[in-house]
Symmetry: C2
Subunit: 218 residues, 2 copies
């Protein structure tokens, strides 16, 4: 049907894309242990040995996949923060703060699954990717708390913000996975829960900052 008048480099990068797409699918479906050059090459429709035309070794494929995931993550997060800024209304904005990461996760749930696996797997080559994702979310959430007026001055406060971001992040991931797995059909319900959890944390921050500053001007 479609004629394919491709230049050599076009054909090559097309094959490379095929390999990467196949690898991501296999990584998601079978885990890092199931990601073999045999399977990836077969799924991409080339000979196993041709895998090495595109990647120096299996390790390099993993590295590239991590970069790929990192790039998608950064893009999604940037977009999320951009959209969030467009909702000046405080309540609605707070909700968007959670709906947007949830949606970002649900767009590529395999990236989260891969990351969650890698994070606690000492044999994984994707630890860096996992760390990057965690840091990105922590930033996202920290910036959000800062926008609400909560800044961390001393060591203890900073640790507390980090713990809150960590906890909310973990909850966000859990609910997003639950949504993807079909247990929580409505993303808005997920966002509501996260808003509620988050409000509890805010109340804690408010309570103790008031207590420590005694005469809080409000």
């Amino acid at each position: 049907m479609t004629s394919t008048p491709l230049t050599r480099s076009e054909a090559k990068s097309q094959t490379r894309r095929k390999l990467i797409r196949a690898a991501l699918a296999i990584l998601d479906a079978e885990g890092e242990a199931g990601l073999t050059t045999v399977k990836v090459a077969k799924a991409a429709g080339i000979a196993q040995s041709s895998f090495y035309v595109h990647f120096k070794d299996r390790q390099e494929l993993l590295r590239v996949l991590a970069e790929e995931g990192g790039a998608r993550l950064r893009t999604a997060m940037r977009e999320a923060r951009r959209q969030a800024r467009e909702h000046p209304d405080d309540l609605e904005r707070h909700r968007e703060t959670f709906r947007i990461p949830l949606e970002a996760i649900c767009r590529h749930p395999e990236l989260l699954r891969i990351q969650l696996r890698a994070r606690h797997d000492p044999s994984s080559s994707l630890q860096e990717f996992a760390a990057e994702r965690a840091a990105a979310y922590r930033e996202h959430h920290a910036a959000d708390l800062a926008a609400l007026g909560y800044t961390a001055d001393d060591e203890r406060d900073r640790r507390r913000l980090e713990m809150i971001a960590d906890g909310i992040n973990a909850a966000t991931n859990a609910l997003a996975i639950g949504h993807v797995e079909g247990r929580y059909p409505d993303l808005d319900e997920c966002a509501d829960i996260l808003v509620a959890l988050s409000r509890g944390a805010l109340r804690l921050l408010r309570a103790t900052s008031t207590r420590s500053e005694e005469g809080d001007p409000h």
Copy 2:
């Protein structure tokens, strides 16, 4: 020094224990992919082939490890609930509700790490173990919410309780891991955060149950 007048079966079960201990350590340190009969046998000080005197195959070892982990988990959880009942004071009790699972996790962090990995790894043989642990915590927390007077009547409410339990559970795991990794030195601080998050969720439940009763035009 110590004489070893062991019967044959004593010696055998001792070797078996050595294998299981070695396997748990390797599983924690290198992940499921790194758990080979070669390494386990070597770490336990026996020949690789002797591994098969104790286990039918590699799969059976995994199964036994999961049972082992499940048993430890159940014991820890039972103990936790027993202790929690001893604190009638409401505020302190609420805090204990979180400190106790946190401590249970920190006593055997490798079990949590193994579980978190297995949970999202399709190639893992420990999915059942992971599911059991998740269900156990959900029960723990659901019973706790029920004790506070929150019962789920309709589908939506039940789902909400499940989401809350899921979210709090994820946050608990995240903070416990953070403690084990040295980022959050004080477990009480972790418990405080969890109490705060949990209070936010409780407020949501209170708010909407009131609202739905008010607006219910029966």
